[in-house]
Assembly symmetry: C2
């Protein structure tokens, strides 16, 4: 799983290791080149020092274990909110402080490590590092103040918690997240224009509403005067844009006269439909524009790194003007960069790079290596079935073959689709009926049988290879359901009662099983595949949302904590959510009391609700200015981030619909076809055929192992390669990142992207 | 204003009329060519017969008066719903029936006219005509049945009303609307895939909700069992996707355990955010794809028509291989096509077409004519101010000139922006205060002064030229406000009371005045201009929405009419909306009773509300299957039409942001510059400078009239030209619509687009 070059482990599958016949200098150079290639492959953008010592430190810095450790501690640091004031899980203050100190020291260690890797002046020029430093210092100061005040029993606020999510942004690994933030920041001026116009429109409508309705003595449903205070109107109309209070806000006027509906219809048309579309258009256009610029720079940086690696490995050949890289050094390099690549796979990549079979490649072909490594090629070892090894005559007998064929037949899939649908009906029926309850065992048995049959027909390692999402999904769901059902039955028969939690899990697993049917319908598979492809990039948006939610949750908890109480039983406070201001309000009547900022979990859920529909009964219990909190949240999350998310999904779908495969991709695919090692793209590996072809080898007693290749349908190994794909048409393949002017270009290419956190 | 060629009126501004020195044959040919050009210019697509008699009939068919008449009667026909059952304005049945008969006969007449214009076999092959015929017949049958049943006092349904909006679609003039419908129909298969997947997802979530929450004995806020009926759950979760019942639907589960919020958060993430984005992506992509195909066909048809016109006018010249059109015949043609074009304007267009000043143009240049005529060139007659004619010495004196300069100065605009803002504050203040009430006169006087000053500085006809939107806006608003305020004051002082209606108008006008400030801020002007540019196309969507709303309103009135009553006063029925099923329901408590289908106006308003937020308390009073009505409405209006609207706005904004001017446009602009007749693009015509240059001519006593040109900022005269602009990059300028194979191509190009109405 390691994606960084291995230092110690020399691949075992090669006869000659790296150390043989190579002096230290050469080895160090090769390592440096491997680091460049690896950086290019993963779009790392760190200007490390090139002394052998520093390179090793840098490799350690990129080691997956350290990165995982960093993320683990960032998550722990974020999760501290659960045990802090306002408390969800009571934990002594000293314990949470201790954990936080550990986190801080890990972050400091990481920062020091980074400082050792890159030149000193680069380190201090980078706002990211300064930002982390300031955050660490502020947190420390806050902790000391808080601890001191806590010790003297004075109420104090842990204000530095707001900065925690910024660590997620500012550590070097948050590249995608930083890029998203940068794109948003760059798009802001344009968005601001539209936003001002939008606010102007709301102000004009509010003034008109004040004039039209203010003097009529209308009452809202709760008996308050309707549309008499200008600022209230502005807020109400802003909320109307989000459609949260439609049609409530319109009803008093509409009840007074049908004619007034015109006002609201025009308002909604202009503000909800036209302005929101314009927001999407502006956000989309700007986001795309800046993202394209970012990706262009990314690609140039990547090529520049590959050129550096090339410069290290290059050699002169007689009769050739341009320097080249030999097959041998290329091989050593790739082995160092990606140790888990099989020999055959490496040879395949080489044959794509060295199209004319010359034994060396030029710069252009070498530079492609990073992209080539990013195309996900699945190597399937076409091995004979273990049963075949164990008893060839039985496994290859006619009934056995017939069974294998039947399992791979279309009808088999259809039969199981029907079984799933029947199962769905049974799930929907009342499980009180013993017949239906016991039918569960029957269906479980059927599903287990399906898996076993498939395992019989297919080589187990091929069946459970990494890219067979649905096979894994099936097996995990079925086995868990089996275990949970057995536990549940055991508990029922022993204790006479069934645990609600286990039942929940059983039911959930039972329903999830039904999802499988999607995979067998082709028109659905296309959409699902696109969604799975853009899935990893959606995670960037998830991070973005979490950063924003976390900040708002922290601020919200300080502002609104305890104002609204949730009472589980029928306590007297239930009808006012524990706050007299909400007595008999619709907020309390609708039982919304649990939507509060009293702890970090309910804060997050409330923020999700605010994202969906900006309902803010909250403002009744606080100063009117608290509405600014909700409006700000709406602007940032709904108008900007959700629109960017929509823009991204749109763009990704367009790419899927319109773009053909990239040139590199096609040439790789062609090569696989030419070499006759193509794995059939349809369905699971067709091992029956493979068996037939290996029949002849059976006499030797040693079934042959064949390696088949297939390009994964999730073509993009990383988010960056999807982005690069999106804007590929606009990128110049000959642009090597301005190598002619190394001084200038290195400044340009390796400049660490600036992200000012506040 | 007439945009169709004039038959009788021979342009007066030319010395030699068409009849001079031309035989009838030539004249008829010229007329035919003019019809082709006019059809190409307005993208008409009617295969008329080419006999002179038929051409005249065809010209009559396209006469703007007849078209306006047709639309008038279509609107009257649609408005009949106001006076029909369920009645809004009581009108005797015989009267409404009579009006409907008149409408029907007008439609029949139009259809007969059309039948005479085009060949008989074409007429019967066109589903549009058959559709109109069927609708007319069905309506007649319905009227007879209804009349007969009405006479015998049996309740009957006017079911044919549902077809009325289809007339809007099927008459030849509804091209854009038809195209939109066609694009939607073509995109349906793809949308269906996503929709099925979306429904599958909702079903799975519903099943899981049933299993998770059904057995817990939870209660909704109104005390009903929570999530126990599968179909109810499906409906509730569908509504949750529209965010209408968020967070109500979640609260019982959330109150039971915070953990269950995860279910709803995942549901909203998948269905509301991801699926809705995918819908937008699919709708956008398909709509664009089919629209592009449509526009491509449109352009080919247009070019083909221009080629036909060229074939009629062409003549052979010595030394030229290709046939050409001479300046003279071109002139006659353009005069016939667009009679209101001035001589200078025509010469300008000729100079663009005949770039090398040869006196004739080839086919390529000729074909451009239709597009050239569609570029909106504003001819401004640079006339001296009337006051200058009346008293040159006074108007051209130093103080007068200084005044003119001051009025056109930036500071003048800024002073009035400040006045507007102060005025806004005064409007917001309470008008009970006599000081503030009287300040209105002061502000009115200031605004009047502004208009008078501008009229003093600018030539009135230039000031009120057609493209000066804001000048017209200002004047109309101010004068109406003046009139309304005077009437209001008079009424107050005479009768001692002020009419609420007039006050409403006064207030509205006062607030609308403030909008003016937008025009003086540049960053807003860009956005507003884009919106104004795409405005006409938005009307197509308005028609689309009206067709769909009308059908749903008619069906809804038959289904739900009278189920919910609205009581103005505090009658006993108020708390149940007159329906026992709604007694104490939140629908009645929130005072939603006026949201009903009891007449056509409230139906439309309810449908708008359903578009914004799909709240359907309605389903409480009818059979559960009535929910299908609301779900269907949501699918058609929100998922399809609103998404197409958003897609269109996005596309239009992208075009504005990214596309440069078209080639033709640029060459026209260049020509205007070269000829030195360019009107400054910034602000109103700068007449002070014009005055200075005409100074020298004053001695002759006859101030010179100069004609200046400017390309309108609303560059597209028609919706089609905007669409053509959008996809211009994909259109081949040399593609003449397959002229080589006239038989085949005429079939292809003139095929009337099929629209099956049901």
């Amino acid at each position: 799983m390691s994606e960084t070059p291995q230092l110690e482990n020399i691949p075992e599958d090669t006869g000659k290791g790296l150390s043989n016949g190579m002096d230290t200098k050469q080895k160090e150079e090769l390592e440096l080149a491997a680091v460049y290639v690896s950086d290019a492959q993963h779009n790392r953008n760190i200007f490390f020092e090139t002394q052998p010592q520093a390179v090793r430190l840098y490799l350690l810095y990129n080691h997956w274990l350290l990165v995982v450790l960093l993320y683990f501690f960032i998550i722990v640091n974020l999760l501290l909110a659960v045990v802090e004031q306002p408390v969800l899980l009571p934990v002594p203050t000293w314990a949470s402080m201790l954990v936080e100190l550990v986190c801080l020291s890990v972050f400091s260690g990481r920062l020091v490590h980074y400082a050792k890797v890159i030149p000193r002046d680069k380190f201090w020029k980078d706002p990211k590092n300064l930002c982390i430093l300031v955050i660490l210092l502020l947190t420390l100061v806050d902790m000391i103040i808080y601890g001191a005040l806590k010790a003297t029993d004075i109420y104090s606020v842990r204000w530095s918690r707001v900065f925690r999510p910024l660590l997620l942004v500012n550590f070097t690994e948050g590249r995608q997240l930083r890029r998203a933030f940068r794109s948003i920041r760059n798009a802001l001026p344009q968005i601001l224009s539209v936003f001002l116009l939008f606010i102007f429109s709301i102000l004009i409508f509010s003034l008109m509403a004040l004039k039209l309705f203010g003097k009529r003595g209308l009452k809202t449903n709760s008996g308050k005067p309707y549309f008499t205070n200008f600022l209230e109107i502005v807020f109400d109309l802003y909320v109307l844009v989000t459609t949260a209070n439609s049609p409530d806000i319109m009803m008093p006027a509409y009840n007074a006269s049908s004619f007034f509906a015109v006002f609201f219809v025009i308002f909604i048309l202009i503000n909800t439909y036209i302005f929101m579309s314009v927001f999407l258009a502006v956000v989309y256009n700007n986001y795309k524009k800046y993202l394209k610029e970012e990706v262009r720079q990314l690609v140039r940086t990547k090529r520049h790194k590959m050129v550096r690696a090339f410069a290290i490995l290059q050699e002169r050949r007689e009769g050739l003007e341009e320097p080249v890289v030999s097959h041998a050094s290329w091989n050593q390099l790739v082995r160092l960069v990606q140790a888990d690549l099989s020999h055959a796979h490496r040879e395949l990549l080489w044959s794509v790079a060295d199209q004319h079979n010359q034994g060396y490649i030029g710069k252009l072909a070498f530079v492609q290596l990073a992209d080539l490594l990013n195309i996900q090629v699945i190597a399937v070892k076409s091995r004979p079935h273990p049963l075949q090894r164990w008893s060839p005559s039985l496994y290859l007998s006619t009934p056995s073959r017939w069974l294998c064929r039947a399992v791979q037949h279309r009808v088999f899939v259809m039969v199981y689709d029907v079984i799933i649908l029947v199962n769905a009906v049974f799930i929907g029926l009342d499980e009180e009926d013993p017949l239906i309850r016991n039918s569960e065992w029957f269906f479980l048995a059927l599903y287990l049988l399906e898996i076993l049959l498939k395992l019989y027909a297919m080589e187990p390692r091929a069946f459970y290879s990494r890219h067979n999402f649905w096979n894994w999904f099936d097996t995990i769901i079925i086995v868990s359901a089996l275990v949970a059902t057995i536990i549940n039955t055991a508990m029922t028969s022993v204790g006479g009662y069934s645990s609600r939690q286990i039942l929940d899990i059983v039911f959930t697993l039972r329903v999830l099983r039904l999802i499988r049917v999607v995979d067998s319908i082709k028109r659905f598979r296309v959409i699902i595949n696109t969604l799975i492809k853009i899935g990893p990039t959606m995670l960037t948006f998830a991070q973005l949302i979490i950063v924003v939610y976390y900040i708002f949750a922290m601020v919200g908890m300080e502002l609104f904590q305890g104002r609204i109480q949730f009472f589980d039983s029928d306590s007297p406070g239930k009808h006012s959510c524990g706050n007299p201001a909400l007595q008999d309000s619709s907020f309390a009547q609708l039982n919304y009391c649990k939507n509060n900022f009293n702890n970090v979990v309910s804060s997050f859920i409330l923020l999700v609700e605010l994202t969906v529909v900006n309902q803010c009964g909250f403002t009744a219990v606080t100063h009117p200015s608290a509405r600014l909190f909700f409006i700000l949240f709406h602007i940032i999350v709904v108008i900007i981030i959700i629109n960017i998310f929509v823009a991204f999904v749109l763009e990704a779908f367009f790419v899927e619909y319109t773009l053909e495969k990239s040139l590199l991709h096609t040439s790789l695919e062609k090569r696989i076809q030419e070499l006759g090692v193509a794995q059939d793209d349809l369905g699971p590996p067709n091992l029956v055929d493979a068996m037939e072809t290996t029949d002849n080898n059976l006499r030797t007693g040693e079934p042959q192992t064949r390696l088949m290749f297939k390009i994964s349908s999730t073509r993009y190994r990383t988010v960056d390669s999807l982005l690069q794909r999106m804007f590929e048409a606009d990128l110049d393949p000959e642009d090597f990142g301005g190598e002619d002017d190394p001084e200038e270009s290195s400044n340009f290419n390796f400049s660490n992207p600036v992200f000012s956190s506040i």
